[in-house]
Symmetry: none
Subunit: 171 residues, 2 copies
DNA sequence: TTGCATCCCATGAATTCCCATATATACAGA
DNA sequence: TCTGTATATATGGGAATTCATGGGATGCAA
């Protein structure tokens, strides 16, 4: 498995829609772009589809290639395949990190998610998410409500039920 | 099972957020990083998520790979998976031990745990914890309250119910 | 030719790297 | 067993880089 996105941070969005990508995320994007070599700027894919989703989802080139392959394995013409194509292919776009480590969020996308002058980048393993700050805060609190239950102080409890797989250390 | 973290000690945190990692812990981090060889500096992952938790939890690369694998075995999109992702992926970050055996705790993390000029490193087997000194003291006392009960003088009593497995010395 | 998007440059702040030192620990030889 | 020497550890300071962000120039298209 490729490098994982980890961590979160808030960044300014300027009038042109430019946002800095957290440096740690850029390293993952570079590693996940087969075309990339030192001096070049990695490509990534942003998915804004999915009704009700409150975030834009960022994929490395490799991670998206995996999604594409899965879609291509679905029965041609099936409704599920059409839905997947709609979300991942129609409602997405490809961007390139620029010289200064930023990407541009077009006006209509910013509008859709209510993003104005700031955006939160939150890691989620193979992908990362771009949120409107308050929306992320709300989401974050909802995720943490679980801890209010005195039984659940240790998040490892969440993993307890999962299969005791052998650790894979990746490549 | 890999080498275990053991022991505790207090270290200075300087204005840049740098803290020395106890040398004994470094040995475990080295052993737990598949990329590591003599001369290199091991990577580790710090988890600061988990509402109400009063410490930062440090994982070796291997230990975190196990957590990641468990998360990936959870049903996609399930609430528990989301929570696990939030705590272990979003509210965590990766750092590398530097030339002088230190790591850097960013300002916002230090603020969250009230860590200013000192921090306590406390081992916990496969992971270790970083505490604000007074918080650790408090925790430590709470753990020891148990002994106040005259019946419970021998901590081995705690292990009584555990399965009598054959000791594995690991590798 | 006006609007939008891309490219290029500039700058302060934060972060990393490198070097220095004092103390503690291990080791070797007498 | 004692003692000097080498080694490892914990910590501090400054230089060099990288990062995040803002501003303007350039180019293309409607």
């Amino acid at each position: 498995m490729a490098q994982r996105f980890r961590g979160k941070s808030t960044h300014k969005v300027d009038a042109k829609g430019r946002v800095s990508i957290p440096a740690a995320f850029r390293r993952v994007l570079e590693a996940g772009d087969p075309e990339w070599t030192t001096g070049l700027f990695p490509t990534l894919i942003l998915v804004y589809g999915g009704k009700g989703r409150k975030f834009i989802e960022g994929y490395t080139v490799e991670a998206m290639a995996d999604v594409d392959a899965r879609i291509e394995n679905m029965p041609l013409g099936s409704i599920d395949r059409r839905r997947a194509e709609h979300t991942f292919l129609t409602e997405s776009f490809q961007v390139q990190v620029d010289l200064t480590g930023r990407l541009v969020l077009p006006q209509n996308i910013r509008d859709k998610f209510g993003i104005s002058d700031e955006a939160v980048f939150a890691a989620a393993g193979t992908t990362f998410q771009i949120w409107q700050p308050e929306a992320h805060q709300e989401h974050s609190e909802k995720m943490d409500e679980w801890y209010d239950d005195a039984e659940n102080v240790d998040p490892l409890v969440l993993l307890g039920a999962a299969a005791p797989v052998t650790a894979s250390t990746g490549d």
